[in-house]
């Protein structure tokens, strides 16, 4: 066997292993750019200039695209996630903030924070539909079957359910005070939202369209993510991540994290949680079962990463 063949035999699995690590797409609002973090090594791999004070992010399910909102630039950046290149900016006006992608990757849902509306955008044709959500649309998520979009109307203290096909509002569900980040359970038809002002998480049954419970967490919760039958909630003032059991709603742990944690993401296998620390400019990784801090990566200044920022690499 030649040396080259040996190299292929022994190095190929390593290369595949390296390429399979998930990535985080972290918009840094103050430094106006995007840090792509290799979540296997927990090291920043690339920085893309974005502009317009980027805050919200959504990565498509197939990992091909990332979308980043720039509230002060009034645009959404379309990013080729594999090539790590900004393809174009879609001018949307207003203050685009929360963003989600439909499961099939063909539609973008963008919350116009000061414009009361949720926008549906075809990222290719840029054709847009709008629906009124209410005061301060914030977090957005699409149901796994793609039939509904859930948006938080922060200053109305409500989650709004929008039919993805007709793009009409079909339900408004009262939750805690100032719902912000939104996550949807991949298994059960439930939505979770972190209520910044009431320091709790509202759990909504999406089939019944009613509030199931409000679960107490720490001070000023921003983001919520789901893994291993647990909810992980970043508490901005408490500087912790609260963990509770999504079946029993019992509290499981409080994990001390960095300064001003905001957004929470989950690895593809559900084994690792990622938290952006806005003040200390870091992304931390946490084991979803032992709750141990397993890594810390530097980001740019003011990482927001409001949305589903983890990219599953294939």
């Amino acid at each position: 066997m030649s040396l080259r063949a040996l190299a292929v035999v022994f190095l190929a699995p390593l290369l595949i292993g390296a390429a399979r690590a998930d990535e985080a797409f972290v918009p840094n609002q103050s430094s106006d750019d995007l840090t792509i973090v290799d979540l296997g090594a927990m090291t920043p791999g690339a920085t893309l200039p974005i502009g317009g004070k980027p805050a919200g992010v959504a990565v498509s399910r197939d990992g091909a695209r990332a979308y980043v909102t720039s509230p002060e630039g009034h645009f959404v950046s379309v990013i080729d996630a594999r090539a790590r290149r900004v393809l174009k900016r879609i001018a949307v006006g207003g203050q685009p903030f929360g963003v989600a992608v439909s499961p099939d990757g063909r539609r973008l849902y963008v919350a116009d924070m000061n414009g009361r509306e949720l926008l549906e955008i075809d990222p290719d044709s840029e054709k847009t539909r709008r629906v009124e959500i209410g005061a301060m649309p914030s977090g957005v998520a699409a149901t796994p079957d793609g039939r509904f979009v859930i948006a938080a109307a922060r200053d109305d203290n409500a989650l709004v359910v929008v039919d993805a096909e007709t793009f009409a509002r079909v339900a408004t569900i009262a939750v805690g005070r100032h719902p912000y980040g939104v996550a949807i359970d991949a298994q059960g038809p439930r939505a979770y939202t972190a209520n910044v002002e009431s320091d709790d998480v509202s759990i909504v049954d999406l089939a019944e369209r009613k509030l199931i419970a409000n679960v107490r967490v720490g001070g000023h919760p921003y983001g919520v993510a789901l893994a291993k039958g647990r909810a992980f909630v970043a508490n901005q003032y408490a500087e912790t991540v609260s963990v509770f059991d999504t079946a029993t709603l019992a509290p499981l742990a409080t994990i001390k994290v960095g300064e001003y944690p905001e957004s929470v993401g989950v690895s593809r296998d559900g084994g690792t949680i990622y938290v952006t620390n806005w003040f200390s400019n870091e992304l931390w990784s946490i084991d979803a079962e032992s709750y141990k801090i397993t890594g810390k990566a530097s980001t740019g200044d003011g990482p927001r990463a409001f949305g589903a920022f983890v990219r599953a690499v294939d």
């Binding site: 509230p71 002060e72 203050q95 924070m113 000061n114 001003y260 806005w278």
Partner: protein, 184 residues
């Protein structure tokens, strides 16, 4: 117009009198949150500094504050205070974190007129640590938004002006704290 260099809350008086008052209620915060971090070294043991800084019910060490009224002691989420400024304006604040062992507290401003401090949704942390020199280091850091975070702010309410106002306030406060503690 521009905001003059302000050494302390007292400096806000002419501006406060000149401008129409804008309520700083819980406004939209779609804009970009800002960071300010100021530190100072004080030639006194941390416990002596914390005895002043850690008394949430007395902000008298901050220039421009003539009286503090409050309730709830140092119990997070319960403790509140109202700062009365020489100008006649008031600022309402709430304690959200208090760690006596770590000598650290965090508070938020619940109400301030933009003419007094042109910021929204301000939270701030005061922390006393031992200095390498044997004295103390006090760090005062804050996250806040400019006034009028939605859309295009009036020219006197930009991010830069908000950062400048908070930086100058913290610097003047820390300098006064140092002078007071080192004098005692």
């Amino acid at each position: 117009m521009t905001i003059p260099a302000l050494a302390c809350f007292r400096g806000f008086v002419p501006l406060f009198m000149a401008l129409a008052l804008f309520p700083a209620a819980a406004l939209a915060h779609g804009a970009t949150p800002q960071k300010v971090v100021e530190t100072i070294e004080i030639a006194a043991p941390p416990a002596k500094v914390w005895a002043v800084v850690g008394d949430f019910q007395d902000m008298g060490w901050l220039p421009g504050v003539v009286k503090t009224e409050g309730e709830g002691g140092v119990t997070p989420e319960i403790a509140k205070r109202r700062l009365f400024l020489a100008s006649g304006a008031t600022i309402d604040e709430r304690l959200v974190q208090y760690d006596d062992a770590a000598m650290s507290l965090r508070y938020i401003i619940e109400h301030v007129d933009f003419a007094v401090l042109p910021v929204g949704n301000l939270s701030a942390t005061l922390k006393v640590s031992p200095a390498a020199s044997g004295g103390s280091v006090v760090e005062w850091k804050s996250r806040f938004y400019r006034a009028f975070p939605g859309g295009n702010p009036p020219e006197q309410y930009t991010d830069e002006i908000a950062v400048k106002a908070v930086s100058e306030l913290f610097r003047s406060g820390l300098a006064a704290l140092k002078a007071r503690v080192e004098r005692e």
